[in-house]
């Protein structure tokens, strides 16, 4: 994949594969091109050069909503809940294939939407329950605390019935206890069959829960493998300027 912003080559020949069912991470120093990769893969940025294949299809150049309907769901770096809607509605709206979203059905066959809503409400409440957000279901999403919004992001993504969840820095700015909870939710969902790709800076979490790691630097793939091996890779260590990685290797 290649992508440039004017004179800045943000992604410069980066290439990697994620296997179905894995819990993977893409790590790398700031400016490595990770966010650009996420935006290109999910269709938010127009494709320039390179291809993206997902679940047997070439999705290069697809619109974001088409990619999402295919089963590739991405989240954003900052929590972007639908603030003016309730927590329950935040989940209801992301469910795919809603008959009631067709204009004709909405105006002339309201029963279809209502019937489907009953199913969706039941499923949404179950999901809210597993995330411990049930009590907040009728609160406006904007009134939630930062941590609750993080959980809502994940819960909402689950409702979309994803095959692959691309999480953009899900642990950024999150307190340690919540990091733990989020990590366990991700592991549980992974066991249930969702493939995960985490863009993360928190290497501790990555080491703990991920089975495959891709390291990016200056727009290219630097190395891939398990976190433990990567810590011993001199190129990777240098890329991180001998910071955290080096500490781990010695301590």
């Amino acid at each position: 994949m290649y992508h440039s912003f004017g004179g800045l080559q943000a992604v410069d020949g980066c290439s990697f594969t994620i296997s179905r069912g894995s819990l993977a991470a893409v790590i790398g120093p700031n400016g490595a091109g990770k966010s650009t990769m996420v935006n290109v893969v999910s269709g938010a940025l127009a494709r320039q050069r390179g291809r993206v294949r997902f679940d047997g299809s070439d999705i290069s150049g697809w619109a974001p909503h088409q990619i999402a309907l295919r089963g590739l769901i991405r989240t954003f770096q900052i929590s972007r809940e639908f603030g003016g809607m309730t927590v329950l509605e935040n989940l209801l709206v992301t469910a795919p294939d809603q008959r009631g979203e067709q204009l004709w059905n909405a105006l002339f066959r309201p029963g279809l939407g209502r019937r489907q809503d009953r199913e969706l409400v039941s499923r949404a409440l179950d999901v809210l329950d597993t995330f411990d957000l049930f009590a907040l279901r009728n609160e406006y999403a904007r009134t939630l605390s930062g941590g609750q919004k993080r959980l809502l992001e994940l819960a909402r993504a689950v409702m979309a019935e994803p095959k692959l969840l691309l999480l953009d820095e899900p642990m950024a700015g999150v307190n340690p206890a919540l990091i733990d909870r989020l990590g366990r939710h991700i592991q549980r969902l992974n066991e249930q069959g969702i493939t995960f790709v985490l863009i993360e800076h928190n290497l501790e979490v990555v080491e703990r829960i991920c089975d495959h790691v891709v390291v990016m630097a200056v727009g290219k793939t630097l190395a891939t493998g398990r976190m433990a091996e990567l810590r011993r890779n001199p190129e990777v260590v240098t890329a991180y300027l001998g910071g955290e990685l080096l500490e781990r290797a010695t301590g």
Binding site: H65, T94, G113
Partner: protein
Amino acid sequence: MLLPPIIYEIATLAVFFCIYNVMTWGLNIQFGAVGILNFTYITFMAIGAYVAAVLSLPPQTPGTGVTYVLGLNWPFPLPMIMGGLAAGALGFVVGLVALKRLRSDYLAIVTLAVGSIIYTIVGNYTQLFSGWDGVVGVPEPINNWINLDLNTYEIFYVAVVLAVMLVAWFFTRRLFASPLGRTMRAVREDADVAEAFGKNTFRIRMLAMVLGCAYAGVAGALLVGYTGAFSPDGWTVGETFVIWAVLLVGGRGNIVGTMLGCFLIVVVFVEGTRFLPTGFLNPNLVATLRNMVIGGLLILTLRFRPEGILPERRRRYTEIRRASPTAVGAGAN
């Protein structure tokens, strides 16, 4: 048969109330539900009015100085339906240009520009809708069958607009309560995120645009049926401002709120001038004072109650849990 004047005043109020309701519900769909900033909403009302007018007028009589296209003498409700369709079609075209990539303020500016262009074309291209003088002598809907005298017809027309308003109310409620309405609000809240969850935000926006403009067209047709004449005076930028005031004061996203805002504004508009001493006030000043009052209401609302008098209702859903042992308080709310 002549009834006491108060009856006719109430009839006028009622007619304007119903017409403005339909109009503002259309804008509520565009802005309240989806968040589209349409600053030329009045243009779509105008198109609806003009189309309905030239469809119900007989062919133009030469020498009168009134020139217009068509003139097909169609009976009610065809001109009204065509007015709605024409406005919807125009909304579609504007939407194609403005909604594909533009957001909020850019969209607002583009709609202003479009409105300005259309206004200038209609005013100058006299063969279309008789230019700046406008069309006159538009026949009253249905009256060619029942032949009421003009006074009784005024009362009858209340029933006509009320019927249309009730139909509009019925469908608007359904729309807002449907999953489509919910998805519309999600697009309003955060279009990028909605897109990332599989919603075709362009389609949603176009739907709202076309529907809302169709409402405006129908309202315009009803208006021209009542006033019998229509000219560019009736759709200046100031008019869009009044509709926005109704929407924002009453409550965006709230259908009943719109009715409330409408009631307030229409009462001020039509009745407010009665309490001003006549004689030494020239008509232009009266219009300005009206706008000042409405502007004042709008400022107060935005300052003290920005969501409007009746804010958007929080949606609750009937909760039927299937096989979930861990929930506390599961069941219908």
